[in-house]
Amino acid sequence: MKRRQFLSSTAMLMGSTAVFSFLPGVSLAQETPVSGGTLIWGHSETVQNLDMHQTGTASTNRVLQNVHNSIVTVDANLSVIPMLAESFEESADGLTYTFKLRPGVKFHDGKTMTSADVKYSFERCKDPATGAVNFEVFNNVAAIETPDDLTVIVKMSGVNAPFLSRLAENGAGVIMPEGSGDKQGTTPIGAGPFKFVSYEAGHQVELARFDDYWDGPAYLEKVIAREITEPTVRLTGLRTGELHMINDIPADRMDEIKADTKFQTVTWFPLNWDFVNLNHDFEPFKDPKVRMAMDLIIDKEMLLQGALWGQGRTTASPSYPTSASYNSALANRPQDIEKAVALLAEAGYGPGQLKVVFKATTNYPYHIEAAQIMVEWFKAAGVDMTIEQLTWADWLSQVWVNKDFQISMMNFFTLWEPDFLYYSLWHSTGAFNYRHISDPVIDDLVTKARVTVDPAARADIYKQVQQRVFDETHDIILWFRNGSIAAQTTVNGLDTIVHPNGSNLNFHKVWLKA
């Protein structure tokens, strides 16, 4: 029920966003779940590298969420709670973490989990040679001790306040059987409710129930995640009954599917968030006035309607909306072309004097549409903007790595952990700071947060960071986008499927009515 609470609390905070629509006549009263059956899910994205440590893509995490369990996880309020560890303890100085493992947890190969597996998994993730995307979670980890089979003690050489919450992210905290590293990329093995059966690139991933799962076996015998990236095609598959459920309902069809009594829909908020990026190394954008003018040119509400058919909610803060660090005092600047023109003139750019190139990636078709809409507004403000459409590979190399761009747009899955979010994206040396942002005020704040153990004080620091990003218009934060699932009415337990992070789907409690 935790997840349902999560959904309803989100709904309260943001105003009715999580909606369940069931067939009229089908009561919401809990029926007794039935075991068995194969669920075929039309997955919106393709899975890539299956090694949970190495993979950075949300699509792979979404599927592997069912194969792996983490040492700790989060509840609806994004507080860290036990999972494979029965309990955990942080010393007062923040330098020692003690985990008591749950006894009798089985891996898919039949072995029982011990502290040696935890040590192995942590060290594998920490080792730069592994190429783990989350290796910096283990910054400051000096030693991992295993006094007995069910106790793990992590000793730090310095405070790393976000350590526990970052372990709750699947990638860093998953526990793999000792020595399984080499096989994880092709045949992942973990302690989750489903065993990995097979994978065919671009076609499907097949999972089978793991009967010895520590939290009780799942209902479904099999889950087949069929990869169908075309939204229309996914929808057709649902209509013809070939698929039991699909995620990511095409935004323009949402109303139609919701009204269709043949299906049930689940929507939640948020799935991810989008922002427009300004390269701070590009001469005009060094001037905060110009950056603010860019912000004023964009009508976020209209853009949301145009690019996502309104399936989301505008925001000026990228913090997870239910998290303590979300700064609700911020509001998007409304569109004001006149003021933008004035600001540009003040900065020395008369009509037609500012020329910019917008690099958008075809990986997110709605980014291309958003760019096309923005071009018209920029024109109205006397800014000459052209679009360059890049494949994902080109976007990564040009914008992300080489930082060779003027304006771009990107989305991130909700990085609910504020250190990960703010340090990576806005610290001058942050791993995700591809906009050349260098603001000493932000650097000081996020560094201070890393060694601030008191949660309330930390949250407050992050609110100041958001204020600063907004005041200086370092980036133009646009919106949170909705997540959605449509399913046949035979699928039950959908209220438990969405992980608190808004991206992962968990099939443990999902069942099929015969």
């Binding site: 890539q48 590298n49 299956l50 090694d51 190495q54 950075g56 730069p128 190429g131 995307v133 990329g185 092709t186 065919e200 690139a201 671009g202 076609h203 069929r226 990869e227 169908i228 990236t229 075309e230 095609v233 057709t236 598959g237 209509r239 013809t240 070939e242 494949t391 994902w392 590979a393 080109d394 990564l396 190399s397 992300w400 790595v401 791993a431 995700f432």
Partner: protein
């Protein structure tokens, strides 16, 4: 014998040229394999280390040698995006594409040959105009346009066939054919139109020849003249043209498989190109070119068997 030996030598030489062109072209690709592997985690030092361990700093000729040697020993390398052995990927995807290439060819020939003959027999009459106009329209519509029309008609309006996806023929052949049918038809319609035109013009040429007139003069039934004497002589040229179209089909599957979300070789090649997965681009491009070349050779050899007039000296 010496003919066969010559052919064999020429195959080896051509395969070598294909591999060299593929390798050469893909190595001028901008973008960096190491960067694609590291993605959003890239930083200059790590990139340099990875480049070194992948052997990307070696001279091109050394890399080329390694690639060729790998192909012989069954080590085609790893796909960067799928993190899977390329040979495994190719095995899965060739099966899928073979199914639609064969089906589309069968659909096209089954209609084109009778229609072309019929058209030639009724040359310059209304039957000819109708079939020739239809064929002209057929070759003028892009195959992805056919694909869209077929999705609209069969999948959306009638709901008879799945609009997309792929099913493994090794697991459930019937289901696999069902999924392969619309993409095959989309590919087959354009091909059908082309082959109809070719069959017609070949038959027109043959029907005007002396031996046909002789056969008619001998009082043979028209049906026998056309099918026994006419078509028997037309089948060789028509087959050659059909064989040459295999190359066209392998170009078209890139678009059609993407449209139908049918994950075969075309889809794999497109993914590789989009993601700059250089090892995978090299492998898919090489395999497609090799398959096209070998098919043409096979057609040449079949032609020798079918056409009685060509004997090797």
């Amino acid at each position: 014998m010496s003919y066969l030996l010559n052919r064999l030598l020429s195959i080896v030489l051509t395969l070598f040229l294909i591999s060299a062109i593929t390798f050469g072209v893909t190595n001028i690709l901008p973008g960096d394999v190491a960067m694609m592997i590291m993605g959003t985690q890239s930083n200059p030092e790590a990139l340099e280390g990875l480049r070194h361990s992948l052997g990307l700093n070696d001279p091109l000729i050394v890399q080329y040698g390694r690639w060729i040697a790998g192909m012989f020993t069954g080590d085609w390398g790893q796909s960067l995006i799928f993190k899977a052995p390329i040979l495994d990927l190719l095995g899965q995807k060739i099966k899928a594409s073979a199914l639609i290439v064969v089906m589309s060819m069968a659909i096209a020939l089954a209609v084109a040959v009778p229609l072309g003959v019929w058209s030639a027999v009724h040359r310059d009459k209304w039957q000819d105009s109708v079939s020739s106009s239809a064929a002209l329209l057929g070759v003028s519509l892009p195959d992805f346009f056919w694909g869209i029309m077929l999705i609209l008609l069969f999948a959306r309006t009638l709901g008879w066939l799945p609009s997309s996806g792929y099913a493994d023929p090794g697991v459930d052949f019937g289901l696999a054919v069902e999924h392969a049918f619309l993409p095959s038809l989309a590919l087959g319609l354009g091909l059908m139109a082309h082959l109809t035109r070719m069959t017609r013009s070949t038959m027109v040429g043959i029907l005007g020849q002396e031996f046909i007139r002789v056969a008619r003069a001998k009082g043979l039934a028209e049906r026998t003249v056309i099918w026994r004497y006419g078509l028997a002589n037309a089948i060789g040229p028509v087959m050659t043209i059909a064989g040459l179209q295999v190359g066209y089909l392998f170009g078209s599957i890139i678009v059609i498989e993407t449209l139908f979300n049918y994950t075969g070789m075309g889809w794999l090649t497109y993914q590789a190109l989009l993601n700059r997965d250089v090892p995978l681009i090299q492998a898919t491009v090489f395999v497609i070119a090799a398959v096209v070349m070998l098919t043409n050779l096979l057609v040449d050899l079949l032609y020798l068997l079918v056409d009685p007039r060509i004997r090797l000296g």
